[in-house]
Symmetry: C3
Subunit: 274 residues, 3 copies
Amino acid sequence: MPSRVRLVTLSTDIGSAYAAQMKGVLYGFLPAGHVVDLTHDLPRHRVAESAFLVRQMVGAFPPGAVHLVVVDPGVGGDRAPIAIRTREGSYLVGPDNGVLWPTAERLGIAKTVRLAPPRVAGASRVGRTFDGRDLFAPAAARLARGARLDSLGKGWAPRPLRLPTPTVSESGVKGTIVHIDHFGNAITNIPSSAIAGRSGSVSMKAGSSGVRRALLCAAYEELRLGQLGVLPSSFGTLELAAREGSAASRLGVKFGAAVTLRWPGGRSRAVGGK
Amino acid sequence: MPSRVRLVTLSTDIGSAYAAQMKGVLYGFLPAGHVVDLTHDLPRHRVAESAFLVRQMVGAFPPGAVHLVVVDPGVGGDRAPIAIRTREGSYLVGPDNGVLWPTAERLGIAKTVRLAPPRVAGASRVGRTFDGRDLFAPAAARLARGARLDSLGKGWAPRPLRLPTPTVSESGVKGTIVHIDHFGNAITNIPSSAIAGRSGSVSMKAGSSGVRRALLCAAYEELRLGQLGVLPSSFGTLELAAREGSAASRLGVKFGAAVTLRWPGGRSRAVGGK
Amino acid sequence: MPSRVRLVTLSTDIGSAYAAQMKGVLYGFLPAGHVVDLTHDLPRHRVAESAFLVRQMVGAFPPGAVHLVVVDPGVGGDRAPIAIRTREGSYLVGPDNGVLWPTAERLGIAKTVRLAPPRVAGASRVGRTFDGRDLFAPAAARLARGARLDSLGKGWAPRPLRLPTPTVSESGVKGTIVHIDHFGNAITNIPSSAIAGRSGSVSMKAGSSGVRRALLCAAYEELRLGQLGVLPSSFGTLELAAREGSAASRLGVKFGAAVTLRWPGGRSRAVGGK
């Protein structure tokens, strides 16, 4: 065993029973305690929404870990299996379908390789439906034990994934729902700084729901039960929330829905019409 | 790294994706394997029901760990963030809304502090919606590495949370449903000793359902399929169960429902009327 | 602490809050990082379906671990609590209801014992509903720390569980759905080799659904959205899949449903009629 072994984190949409098989492969190479479950409930087959969450989860870790991500609806097809070394010394391993891109962009890409197929005995007999176990887990384990990135494959240019960006005007801001969280809070891509210095209530339109009033606040507790609020989320962007209730259900919004906030006194069409 | 680092356990209602961010913060301080997931599916925003489960889970651990609990509907508001040292040498970290109280009471409170806000760079820019990541996780990590409780904040008197208590009479016992488990068994707060020496069937009334017959037994297997039973649960209290089915669904009961058991031959009104 | 401690893996149908209590007991004996969650969402009370998954998960692990399995509808009844040493040096611990059998058969049984009741102080006062915590976890921890199997109980002949086997004819193959996975793919017990050298579409009948066309393929991406496919699963057997959709829902099939595939040109009644 090498003197220092890296942590391997797992972020997948495959459920715990499939993920358990990845852990089995990893523990063939790694000492006790070196595999960390992040989540196995990423939004199924939804690359962009998962990519947003992965960036947030991985971003909370100290540099140096190997982050294995499996949201891979194109498994067995043309998408490349890749591993990325980031500028701060972590590794990202998974499919090149964009799910790693926002994280890689944030941490900085030092080098990317396309993983060569495994040459393990019997590998040709396994199916092509579970690269997480058969290809990504062995690669992540080797990196965790100190293998050089170059030893896993040849250089590759990863495919970018652009998450939507908000537009700001004098009268308000228009953005997008990028995540519905565990509580039904609707996380937007609008930076929290957009409401700096503002208070009181705003006019809000989300998805196909009508225009509503929502309170600008800083904590759920400032809301009355059932009142809608707009507040700085833990993602650094604004979230739409209903105290101890699901804002997403009340507004009928999902990932990708448009959100418009209009400041009091703002000109009515400048934002709403964009 | 200090010579002995404590385990940090996580019990939350926030789901695995938010909990992953807490793990990222913790692994900035702790060696591999020192973060243990208990559950991230505590009953959402329900402090008393969660407190009952936390006491049971934490009570199964050996002394010495740091137990971090996040069921925190008042995050960002007036409730205090606290850390408790117990008499047997464990730590409890979380909001002072009662969720830690039953555990603290069972283990014995040696000292409590109100956690001072973190002084990390940039902390003022984060929102006030995720103290689990921004305040509790750093505090738990410091305690796990040997920091003194006094170094985290000033002395504080934690807020008690009284779980309901049952009442016993000659003719029977009246209690409360304190948890619906994973299988739909309805766990009461009635000590299992209440049926010591008794057997056969009893009259049972739970919530707004009508009076039913239920078999006093010791194992699910003594019940016929679909039959209702009353038996000693693994919590030390009685549970209402239906073999390989959900007693809670059949009875239509939830957390907080009243439960009355009347012994054969007991006077009819002594219990039912209380 | 012994010089080498084994990993203990947990596979249960009891949910994370009950499993947390098992971890508490285990960490009374084991160093940090030595307890690995596989899943706590095995199909509830369903021994045969769980046994199939356990074999797959445990089979991915390197030899030497202790695998604790709790799917135990007969807890507290007549079924024996057992521990098995396998030929490749792992241990299996759980109820003797068949849930361990397919794994034991695959790894080879070296010796089995019936676990003696625990002699811990106060054990007589706990209920008979949670052997996972009160009996299996202490036994698994002792094995992980190097205890000899003989020290835990007397020799025992475990009860076999035969998973169904497929029948092959010239015109096709008939098997059974043995698992519905996280994505709604229906995993059969038909070896993937059954379609070796074949391509194009086949006639498929699953459960009580009508006869359908399904494409023989190797990866989900070869299917059009919504098209049904038959492909080698990661279990080594064929699965029925719908691209980015649930084949099980579309076909209305559950665990145990019959599946018939008929090759083009095969005689019509040879398989369908069986």
